[in-house]
């Protein structure tokens, strides 16, 4: 038994742009397939375009792969082909294992029926047997957290409740391969966290993931690998951080991204003792300000990479600017799920030459975890940065601070003091 879960080979999918072509080609294709005529499906006919064009990739069992790209890049079409809703027009796809899909939660819901009835219907559509559903009913209702409304017709549900129920059902399908399309973007923060935890739990059990999201934090948090789509082609597939930088660059700069090397350096020109530069976008911004070193200092002014939540932390950045300028400093902390936890903007004035920026976080307030520091120096209009980079990592332990999982503390440091020397 091979360890490949998904194999996609030279897959293309075309669509017609106009309704009359849709009808014409639809009738033609169906007639052809019925009479066993093999039409040349790999050629474009008049009024057609490739939504997915010659895409190949493989996913091993237990891997989590993100599909990213701008709207209309072909991600959702790819997902639907992986799910077997569309057939490819060229190439072929192999899926090894039971496939579960969350293309749109609650797609099979009947508005007139109650939540409970819809659990059974939707569960059956997703391939669960009645016996399984009977067993899982309580657990599904419990997961959805809408127990009191379960006997209400779903047409009266709020969109959040709709999604909760839909996700709860899909979450109980135990697939080997799970295809998820942007469903984590809905629901309140607490439920999103619950879904994310559930997905991570499945991942630990060895479920293979294909995830589409515009939320790079989700991709970074769950996926080890990612595929960047642009205009129906996979431009890059591999390390998710690199794929995300393709996407970010495309989004931020509005450029067409072709093959392009990205600096993903751990060895940069930063001083010894400084936090390491994890990633930065060399083509984004002007780079007129050079960050020479970046430290997190404890109360004794010693650089550290481990802190307590209630500890006072100083951020010290050594920068070199080529002219006098008014800038906005943008600082935030990201946890290892890619979630931005705390951050701030500060107006500052930089002089020509070298100087040190000090920001005081008293206390740092982050909960237990591993964090990245994201530090940008923007121009005063907050459009293009003079400098950008992700630095890290450092750890925080909560020590005596009581924290609850999944919740960001309601307290945030307000306007941390800034000093420039």
């Amino acid at each position: 038994m091979s360890d490949i879960a998904i194999r996609v080979e030279n897959v293309s999918k075309k669509f017609a742009t106009r309704m009359r072509y849709v009808m014409m080609y639809g009738a033609l294709d169906i007639a052809a397939s019925f009479f066993g005529v093999n039409l040349k499906t790999d050629q474009l006919r008049k009024g057609e375009f490739f939504a997915v064009n010659d895409v190949s990739f493989e996913v091993k069992k237990g891997e989590a792969v993100g599909l990213i790209g701008a709207n209309g890049a072909g991600k959702s079409t790819m997902l639907k082909m992986l799910n077997g809703i569309y057939m490819p027009d060229k190439g072929h796809i192999e899926m090894h294992g039971r496939v579960g899909a969350l293309i749109e939660v609650g797609a099979g819901f009947h508005p007139m029926l109650t939540g409970r009835e819809n659990i059974y219907i939707n569960g059956s559509i997703l391939g669960l047997k009645k016996k399984e559903l009977d067993k899982k009913l309580d657990s599904i209702i419990d997961f959805s957290g809408i127990e009191e409304f379960i006997d209400m017709p779903v047409k009266n549900y709020s969109s959040g409740m709709y999604v909760r129920l839909g996700f709860a059902i899909a979450a109980h399908c135990n697939p080997d391969i799970l295809i998820v399309d942007e469903v984590l973007a809905v629901g309140d923060a607490k439920f999103r966290r619950k879904c994310l935890d559930h997905l991570l739990g499945l991942q630990k059990q060895g479920t293979t993931f294909i995830l589409v999201s515009h939320n790079m934090a989700t991709i970074e948090g769950i996926c080890t690998d990612a595929i960047f789509f642009n205009k129906g082609k996979n431009v890059y597939s591999g390390n998710s951080t690199v794929a995300i930088s393709y996407y970010e660059k495309q989004q931020l700069l509005g450029q067409d991204v072709e093959e392009q090397a990205y600096s993903l350096s751990s060895n940069s020109s930063l001083m010894k003792g400084s936090l390491k530069l994890i990633k930065h976008l060399p083509e984004y911004g002007t780079h007129d300000v050079d960050v020479q070193a970046i430290y997190l200092l404890d109360k004794d002014n010693t650089p550290q990479t481990s802190f307590f939540s209630n500890e006072k932390v100083f951020l010290k950045v050594e920068v070199k600017s080529n002219v006098d300028r008014q800038v906005i400093l943008r600082v935030y902390f990201r946890d290892d799920q890619g979630v931005t936890c705390l951050g701030t903007h500060k107006n500052a004035h930089l002089e020509k030459g070298e100087q040190e920026i000090y920001l005081t976080f008293d206390p740092v307030m982050l909960t237990t975890g591993r964090y990245l520091l994201v530090f940008h120096i923007y121009d005063e209009t907050f459009t293009l940065p003079y400098s950008n980079g992700h630095y890290g990592y450092f750890e925080v332990n909560s020590k005596t601070v009581i924290e609850s999982r999944g919740k960001i503390s309601p307290y945030c440091w307000i306007d941390p003091p800034l000093q420039i020397k």
Binding site: D42, I93, L113, I121
Partner: protein
């Protein structure tokens, strides 16, 4: 590791020609896949049927009574017309109302069945686009609702039998009901065809209301056709004539002189059903992207 069911060992491959179960090959593959889908989807068919049936009358004050009420009203109109003496049709041994209602009930299995099957595909458009499930299930489920309708009407016909103190032919009743099966298969077959086409071109649903009126006029449902009129000639080659009138003759008299035509028509019904199902099965992945 989590427990795995037997189905997980399956691998699928998706090709331009359609989905394939990997490791499955040999002759009649499509046919085996069709029956496999029917078997795997049996619970889903039932769910869809229950869903449609229970949601149809959900936001109505009379609720499920509507399922009875509409046929009751139809029958009531006939009873009224009958007692007013409007309906005088020659050449029938039983009270006309019984003759007409049996005909209508059987015809409605055909007419209502086709309507339900055709609409089912378009109604499920959103689901077809978003979820991969045995799509033939929605058409099978729609045909079940036509059967339920048929059963409800049959109960009313039984009541009318009692009221008029008539009895159906005892063995003829049994064989007559069996003889309705080819009509049902024909209905399902046409339903598959039209459901598929209306998925791509919505013209079908507009056409259908006219078509049902036309079928009604061309088929001797409410009156026997005799002589050499053009209508009688059409009836000679109209399979609906045989598929509806032979069961009715059997139920009322126990015999029928339409046997030869019936056998041909029954064969046609089976062929149309097989072709319709097969076509729908092959083309189902092509509807999702065009519906």
């Amino acid at each position: 590791m989590k427990p795995k069911s037997n189905e997980t060992s399956l691998s699928f491959s998706y090709t331009p020609l359609g989905p394939r179960v990997m490791g499955m090959s040999g002759p009649f593959m499509n046919i085996r896949l069709m029956f496999r889908e029917l078997f795997v989807g049996r619970e889903l068919i039932w769910r869809f049927f229950v869903r449609d049936f229970s949601s149809r009358y959900r936001q109505a004050a009379l609720g499920i009574l509507w399922a009875l009420l509409i046929p009751v009203i139809t029958v009531g109109i006939f009873v009224g017309m009958n007692s007013a003496g409007i309906l005088k049709v020659e050449g029938i041994d039983v009270p006309y109302i019984i003759y007409a209602l049996i005909g209508l009930t059987i015809f409605n299995l055909f007419n209502g069945g086709i309507l339900a099957c055709t609409q089912s595909v378009v109604t499920a458009a959103n689901m077809l686009k978003k979820i991969n499930f045995p799509r033939t299930s929605i058409v099978f489920a729609a045909s079940l609702s036509a059967i339920i309708d048929f059963i409800i009407r049959s109960i009313l016909v039984t009541i009318i039998f009692c009221i008029y103190r008539e009895t159906p032919h005892p063995t003829g009743l049994f064989f007559g009901l069996l003889a309705i099966i080819p009509l049902f298969l024909l209905t399902l077959g046409i339903g598959f065809f039209l459901g598929l086409i209306s998925g791509i071109m919505r013209d079908i649903s507009n056409l259908l209301s006219f078509a049902s009126m036309g079928f009604m006029l061309l088929t001797p449902v409410l009156y026997p056709i005799e002589g050499t009129s053009w209508l009688a000639k059409i009836s000679m080659i109209n399979p609906l004539n045989y598929l509806i009138n032979l069961p009715r003759d059997l139920i009322l008299k126990g015999t029928s002189d339409l046997t030869v035509g019936y056998l041909w028509s029954a064969g046609l019904g089976i062929v149309v059903f097989s072709l319709g199902w097969h076509l729908f099965f092959i083309a189902q992945t092509k509807i999702a992207e065009r519906i």
